[in-house]
């Protein structure tokens, strides 16, 4: 009991299946607080599903998820979520500020509308991600990198302790990549825990201090220097990827 309270995220025996096809099989994951963890694995390894299962967005066939020792439902307010950029319709009729303020909807609760305070928080967050010039921009006019930064700003205003991000580096420009990395480091300094689904194996050692290798089963997880080894990578990717760790 004591031990589980000191873990930011604790996943035990998690199995998720779509129809009869297992997507995650008996996965365990312990994430200590204040860690930047990347989840890597081939396509179809269940990375997104793992994040969604932690957030209660997909129902597991078996297993348990705890955030700081309690269920996600109890800890919702301290968890922030950045979905895949491609999961929404960017032609939706709204502007940047409006999307960022959605990050406050959970704290606002039912029916109450965002006001001056929410607007200020959103402006601050947009400044942090270098998007303050785009406050009133229609979201369909944003580049991919700008869309990603809007999503990050929305997560920022959630002011969470634990963040789950689904492919934030996917298809973004260099400016955005730097902005995300700066933000991640800031999160770490503040003791926040961040779990990132990541595709680019080259940058794992530079950006993250923990890594989880996933391919339906958990292959390994732990500090990058111990875990991110050629053997583990070979097991994860089935020897299809020739790769140097450093």
């Amino acid at each position: 009991m004591q031990a589980s309270e000191t873990k930011a995220i604790e996943v035990t025996d998690l199995t998720v299946a779509y129809q009869d096809q297992p997507v995650l099989w008996d996965v365990d994951l312990d994430v200590p607080p204040g860690v930047l963890l990347s989840i890597v694995g081939p396509n179809g390894a269940g990375k997104t599903t793992l994040i969604k299962a932690i957030l209660g967005l997909v129902r597991p066939a078996a297993g348990n998820v705890l955030i700081y020792g309690k269920s996600y439902e109890a800890q919702r307010r301290i968890v922030g979520y950045v979905p895949q950029r491609g999961s929404v319709d960017w032609d939706f009729p709204t502007n940047v500020l409006d999307v960022v303020m959605m990050g406050r909807y959970g704290a606002l609760g039912w029916v109450r509308r965002p006001g001056k305070q929410e607007r200020e928080l959103a402006m601050n967050a947009l400044e942090k991600v270098g998007m303050e010039a785009y406050t009133n921009r229609q979201i369909s006019q944003l580049s991919g990198g700008q869309q990603q930064r809007v999503f990050l700003a929305r997560a920022l205003v959630q002011d969470a302790t634990v963040y789950l991000m689904d492919e934030p580096f996917q298809g973004v420009d260099a400016t955005t990549e730097r902005a995300i990395v700066t933000l991640l480091q800031e999160f770490r300094e503040k003791g926040k825990t961040v779990v990132v689904v990541h595709h680019d194996l080259q940058t794992v050692t530079d950006y993250f201090d923990w890594v989880m290798l996933l391919n339906i089963r958990r292959i390994a997880s732990g500090p990058v220097d111990e875990t991110f080894t050629p053997e583990n990578l070979r097991t994860t990717y089935g020897g299809r990827v020739a790769f140097m760790t450093k």
Partner: protein
Amino acid sequence: MENLSILTHLDYTLMIVAIGAALLGAVSGTLGTYAVLRRQSLLGDAISHAALPGIAIAFLLTGSKTPLILVIGAAIAGWLGTLLILSIIRLTRIKYDSALGIVLSTFFGFGLVLHTLIQRTGNANQAGLDTFLFGQAATILESDVLTIGILGGIAIVIMLVFWKELKVLVFDEGFAASLGFPIRALDILLTSLLVIAIVLGLQAVGAVLMSAMLVAPAVAARQWTNKLSVMMFLAACFGALAGVSGTIISSSASRIPTGPTIVLCATVVVGFSIAFAPNRGLLWDWFRHQRNKHNLKMTASNLLKQPQRGSE
């Protein structure tokens, strides 16, 4: 004297009908906005077709042609049809479009069978049920206007109360769920509001074309604005405009069904918006393209001149 009283009577009837059609257009335009943004345009079609057997059953059970009773029957059937579609998608491997097709045709077929049976019985009361197929706005009475106003008003108020929740649901369902909003309940709420808008319109527009009243005003409105609230307001205005003009045109000539006329009026608004709206319109696109081409040519010719100047 007699002529005069007929005239005022006609005007009064037309006014009631026009008010009813305007309210109807406004309600379906407003609620149709979310249907269009969620890419559920065809769901409206399925609901309106699924409502048909409800009207027949309500008539068979009560023997009454009171619009409110028939509307309640339509609402129950439409709602059941929608729940069936959502359950089919969730519980089976059948995809969304197939589920829509199955439910739409089954319910509609069942409705047609029941209508034929009712007609065979030779019940003197049966005349008028046909209006629910193609719509006959001329049958709108004061009491119908009241029904449309009250039920439509309630639907819009509910939508405004849950504005923030419905907006985040439609824009980013996964994120809304992670915030703790019960997305399945909100989904059912939004669909139920859609059902209300549809069954209110059945009498005037008819089951066959009702979905156009949801889709057309919203599609036209999207052309003119990038703001959800403005889009919804414009859709309401366009819907009302189509409703009124369609009603007036169809009642000026005898035996023109109102539904198709209203839909044609809405189509004119859509066509105009697609062609002429700033930023998203076709004409605007053409101008922008021409301007870009011109600018590009200028830049290119300047670039070509520069090295020549340098070599002199």
